[in-house]
Symmetry: none
């Protein structure tokens, strides 16, 4: 019995290449493909693959939304997210949706094959270079806040935005009538909670989460 997989990715070159290579595996069979979220949703519900492999940045309906709708209708469906995004928030959202795998495109092809077999066997697969701290932090928060995990507090989010807008710690302290030390503490906590390594990462986080516009 082969593992029937469905592949949704908007880049045809990658889609075609992966299908050719997946077909060469004796235990894997690609039974369908899609280039956008709507088509993926319709075809996956019709073809009922064992595993749906979804890119996040799909046109019309993003991969996480497709995953959410599939899981809502059939919580047993197996989903692997295949994406270039190692953004903490997206990983957390995927985790919330209880997807079965999260594989980065800059990992080896071998990782994808491994994830398919592990997920088919009932396991959960996460790319090794996704920071464990984010997952740990997320798991720690999950359930205590009623389902929706807020990684950072309201005050912290306010400071994220001010930082991403180019304000210095000193500046923020003046704006918010706080001690410089308080701002430093917030900043440090934010970096740890979000798993960011530099102010640059913070700006990108803010852009991705629409706290500021590029």
């Amino acid at each position: 019995m082969t593992i029937k997989v469905f592949l949704a990715d908007d880049h045809k070159i990658l889609r075609e290449s992966l299908i050719i290579l997946l077909q060469q595996e004796s235990d894997i069979e690609v039974i369908g493909e899609a280039a956008d979220g709507h088509q993926a949703l319709v075809d996956i519900q019709r073809l009922k693959p064992d595993i749906a492999i979804l890119d996040i940045s799909l046109p019309q309906l993003n991969g996480l939304e497709v995953a959410a709708r599939l899981k809502k209708e059939d919580p047993a469906i197996k989903i692997i997210i295949l994406t270039m995004h190692k953004n903490e928030d997206l990983v957390a959202r995927a985790y919330q949706l209880e997807v079965n795998g999260y594989v980065l495109k800059d990992n080896a092809l071998e990782e994808l094959l491994k994830s398919i077999r592990i997920v088919q066997a009932g396991g959960i697969y996460l790319s090794s270079d996704i920071t464990s701290t984010v997952i740990a932090g997320f798991v720690a928060n999950f359930g205590k806040t009623g389902g929706k995990a807020e990684l950072i507090s309201s005050r912290e989010r306010e400071i994220v935005q001010l930082l991403a807008e180019g304000n210095s710690n000193k500046n923020i302290a003046q704006l918010l009538n706080l001690s410089l030390k308080t701002v430093e503490t917030h900043r440090s906590n934010i970096m740890h909670k979000l798993g960011l390594k530099s102010i640059t990462d913070l700006v990108l986080y803010a852009v991705r989460n629409h706290l500021i516009e590029p």
Copy 2:
């Protein structure tokens, strides 16, 4: 005589897949690969492939900058840009660099093979879906970019990207084999030239100019 190609793309899954499939073509031989711009530049100059296939969004040094440096050293080198971006400004910039091919990742694999053979034969290949945007872009940009002085130098652009990717001055100095003080000077000059007040402004500049992806 086979066509010797070099492939640079930061997504290992795509890179691996493409190499396997390109190797199956009897007239094509992949003689090297790279996951970042620096490695690509060094290896391409060392291995001297017939055609260099470059993604635009490469870490450390983006594909267009790699193309510019390769063309400067050897104007006869053949370059195919393989990218997800169909922005007219990126296409126009590629055209100014006189690259030999521009293929979109959402085209078929067959397109890439065709582009390799056409470019090897001395032709220029453009993905069919960007023909209209490229024409529009040229009409709009023609004349403007003729003698317009670049705001920042090639070296500075390289450092902008490394900064926006979250590297510290120290880190960049090591990567480029420069003194820390040199990197600091470049950084300062960049900020003044571009009228930026903070590193976050620089990240936003890099995002807007597609030096990095949000």
